[in-house]
Amino acid sequence: MNLQGIFSMSRKDLTTLVIFSIVVLALPIWLQPFGAAYPDLMQRFAIFGILAIGFNILFGLTGYLSFGHAAFLGVGSYTAVWTFKLFSMNPIPALFFAVIMSGLFAFIIGFVSLRRSGIYFSILTLAFAQMSYNLAYSVLTPITNGETGLQLESSDPRIIDSMFVGEQAGLPVSNFFGLEMSGIPGFYFCAIFLIIGFFITQRIFASPFGMMLRGIKSNQTRMNYTGFNTRPYTLTAFVISGMYAGLAGGLMAVTDPLAGAERMQWTASGEIVLMTILGGVGTLLGPIVGAWLIKYFENIFSSFNENVLHNLFGFLPDGVESVVVEITSMFVGEGWHLTLGLVFVLVVTFLPGGIMEGYRRITAMFTGGGGDGKKANADDKQTQPAE
């Protein structure tokens, strides 16, 4: 495929990409009124966005529900921190190795797991992720530093850096040719990867390869009968998706050079699934919306405590107030996961297409339905995963 072929996009895709880029790059501005415009949170927005769109390439297009994606995230983080320790604090090689390693890892796991589909696939990926997690905690401690987590040390060799920079006092910070990867620059660094990742996803969605994956989702048997060997396609999707997770893991290490095994636990994989479903499986923007919403509300809800609630409901009569505070306190602060679980159950039950489907239904209501309704039906059929 020549370069022009890769970059020729439909007008609609191009508009989406441009608007998306503007929205992402302007995050520090339009998040101000929401009180979320601080770098740490925005970095997480970008990183988890990458993670979710990567997961969506697998689950959204092929319908294979992986419950082990956190393993790739962990591999990416560990690789990036090791690159920092051994070679250089520049994030580019770290990310490069993180993506390559997690891709390799995904290839091995995918090669085995993709022999089965449906729930067996979910359990196989879950089993592999748990194995990685348990090993990272026990035998692989020399590599992963076990419970403490892998950290930078001043005695690290850092071959390349020591050639150019020489000795420094204290722990070094990851820097992109002198630009420190924390705060706003760190966010923009991640944001650029998010935009690139989004662009690649768009291209995959629009490509014959993407069509093939959708075909696998709607009816794999028919695909097989048509004469396609579907496995190379699903494996490629799995590896790409694993690389996205590795990139996200690498970026986590870039913004905060620390890697721990808890990133690989299966509840972490569950969180990725939650984000994607909440936003809308199989849509381009859905997973990112889901990731942002979850991270935003996690941040807001976790900061609530009894005092904040008492202030909030202070206008109520005393008796009523304490009851209301008692009930709401179940859902905020420590109880944020309860809210998340409830919302998730409700979304899966009533709105399996996530927020994007809700959005489409609402717009369909205002534009009088008709054509849009038909389109919604067609999309509903697509949400049947591979069995």
Binding site: L124, L135, S138, L338, T349, E387
Partner: protein
Amino acid sequence: MDAILLQLLNGLDKGGAYALIALGLTLVFGTLGVVNFAHGALFMLGAFCAVTLRKLLTLEQVVLDTENLTAWGTPTEIRTPYVEAWFGDFGAVLVNYSVPLAILLAIPVMLAVGVAMERGLIKHFYRRPHAEQILVTFGLAIVLQEIIKHFFGANPIPQPMPENFSGAADIGVMLGMDPNVIVYPWWRLVYFAFSVIVIGAVFAFLQFTTFGMVVRAGMADRETVGLIGIDIDKRFTAMFGLAAVVAGVAGVMYTPLLPPDYHLGMDFLVLTFVVVVVGGMGSLPGAVAAGFLLGILQSFASMTEVKAIIPGIDQIIIYLVAVIILLVRPRGLMGRKGVMES
């Protein structure tokens, strides 16, 4: 030889827990065709039934003894649980046996929870894809464990076993070997016996009662049973309740072995799914056999001799077995043809 026998025994209690949870999971799957990720949470709820009962039984009344003063000059507080104050020695026995007694509490509670879960939520997911069933029950599991966390806190709550069972049994002597060769905690033996009894009861119920016969017929061919005019849905709901009870009592009896905390269910769930897959989706004997098999394998893998050869094997053995089984024998050990096949 002794070492092997000891490891065999070590695997039995854990295997019993796996088998009990896997049995319920398979029962739900075989009858309702639902993949229930919230089943581990039911195990956890059962464990917290034991915690609740003990909390209730040990509510204390405080009597001030003004005769004896403490070193600070305040009256000594004499704390006695209300049950002991009311019933004397019988009360003390109640407190002592709080864990087994909790079964009586767990059965109605778990039955109610199970039926409510099935009627309230899972009913709507019969015709939906398995992926969505997994997702919604996964969400439900999160909700259940967070509710427990809200009321009981995040730390494990140790539960003492009845004093009569707190020691260890010298099994070697019973088998005619030297004393102190094979010493094994009583409660683990109790747990093993308990799991065998429960499993036997469930099988007997399915095999020898009319109700069980109808359920088995429904598992084999739901449509025909419906055509005969039997309301199979109602019976399947009852089976969901039964599965919840089995998971619950398994949790109750396990509390002295492992202090329960709110994510106990999740920890067991992953393992149990592996057990079910190894045994074969939809096969009840398979689930039980695989449960004990994997429990025993795990205990063998944690022997120092084995770990010296393959380091870290105890951490991954179960998953490794599952991967191998799924690849070479996709239906599992005893899986039926045509169940959950793509």
